[in-house]
Symmetry: D2
Subunit: 128 residues, 4 copies
């Protein structure tokens, strides 16, 4: 679970977090979650393993606002060569559910060719 | 159908459009599509009618890159108090399918209370 | 001179364009301006010539809002190995001055080593 | 001094942090710096005091990359009704200077009318 504070730049003229930014929050939480599990996404990239999205979904439950602290949790699933990550975002103070969603990823090389999922990721997922 | 040229700021270190930006492209196309139909979203806002998202989904088919011209089409559906907009993004030059997705909206007032869908939107959708 | 319509995503909770987005508008106008002059920035990149910023400045005169159409003009200067581009942003409808600014660039190769300015850019600037 | 980790979404196709994002980092550091000094920007906003930018400047010294941890320091100055904040961004690991810059602000009310600087801000600055 990762805490993210809403930046002013993340808001829009409705006074709430612009919906596209939840995908950014998912991404930041994903990278931190991998790091906590001992996987460094930057290292992966340097060895030519990338995890681009093939699908994303987000359900917006309650608005988040400037300076709110959000808690983003990540739950992984493996589906063949795809990894699916489920997210929940809660307001840290009120515990309100702000958004849920998922991202689906495949692993590709530097030329965007699909690879099998890295073994260190698979064994990490198996342990959860 | 709206044309959007990929800005350099929209790309990421994989050399492709960052996935969160497709939601921005959907939004820009949505606003232009409403305008073409005779509906001005800014006017709606000034009379206290907003169309926040309750859900978004995007499927990433092929990467888009800096300076690509994208064609974004919008197809509407009404589902009770919700409006669902389907999107397709093609590369203008190659005609490759880049992404598909949808956004679900409700109409709310300035205090985020859900309203019935505006009649001018309903009659506009009925005409399509 | 390039026209840019303010996207809803570009606004912030003050109801105006978030200040960081003017640098994006400068960039979009810069790329279009180069294209009008017969220079394709994407082609430059593919031959290993990049124009990263070494400095930017922006003065915010009047707020811009969602759906405003902005006119962005670009005026170039050469200063040794550096190119300086001055920008003015006006509201298309009211002609109000919204922002002014500049960006300073050097030309670098794929390894971020500074190069002399490309001859096609120099001759283009000389013609203006 | 605030630590900010570079998100993947902050990078561009040159593989480095897109230059507009430094203004975002300045902003996040500014809000945290005010909070450390006992000033809550969100509270200010709710009482109709905003600090929009009238000018920004950034000098880009060395590129920052995905996952870098940046240290952003803030140094304030008062100049009549304007507050000027100077920033320095260093790479946390290498201590390299990444960027410097400033933002100039005035205090405005909800209708964008310029106010005298809030007394709590002036007394806070005087104490530094």
């Amino acid at each position: 679970m990762m805490k993210i504070r809403v930046a002013f730049a993340d808001t829009d003229a409705m006074g709430i977090v612009h919906h596209a930014n939840y995908l950014r929050y998912f991404e930041v939480a994903r990278v931190e979650w991998l790091r906590e599990k001992g996987l460094d996404y930057k290292v992966w990239q340097s060895r030519g393993q990338h995890l681009p999205l093939i699908e994303s979904q987000c359900r917006y439950k309650k608005p988040a606002r400037f300076d709110d602290v959000l808690e983003v949790s990540v739950i992984p699933k493996i589906d063949g060569v795809r990894i699916i990550l489920d997210y929940e975002i809660h307001n840290h103070e009120t515990k309100d559910l702000i958004a849920t969603g998922f991202t689906k990823h495949v692993c590709v090389d530097d030329n965007m060719k699909v690879l099998a999922l890295p073994k260190d990721m698979l064994s990490m997922i198996a342990k959860i």
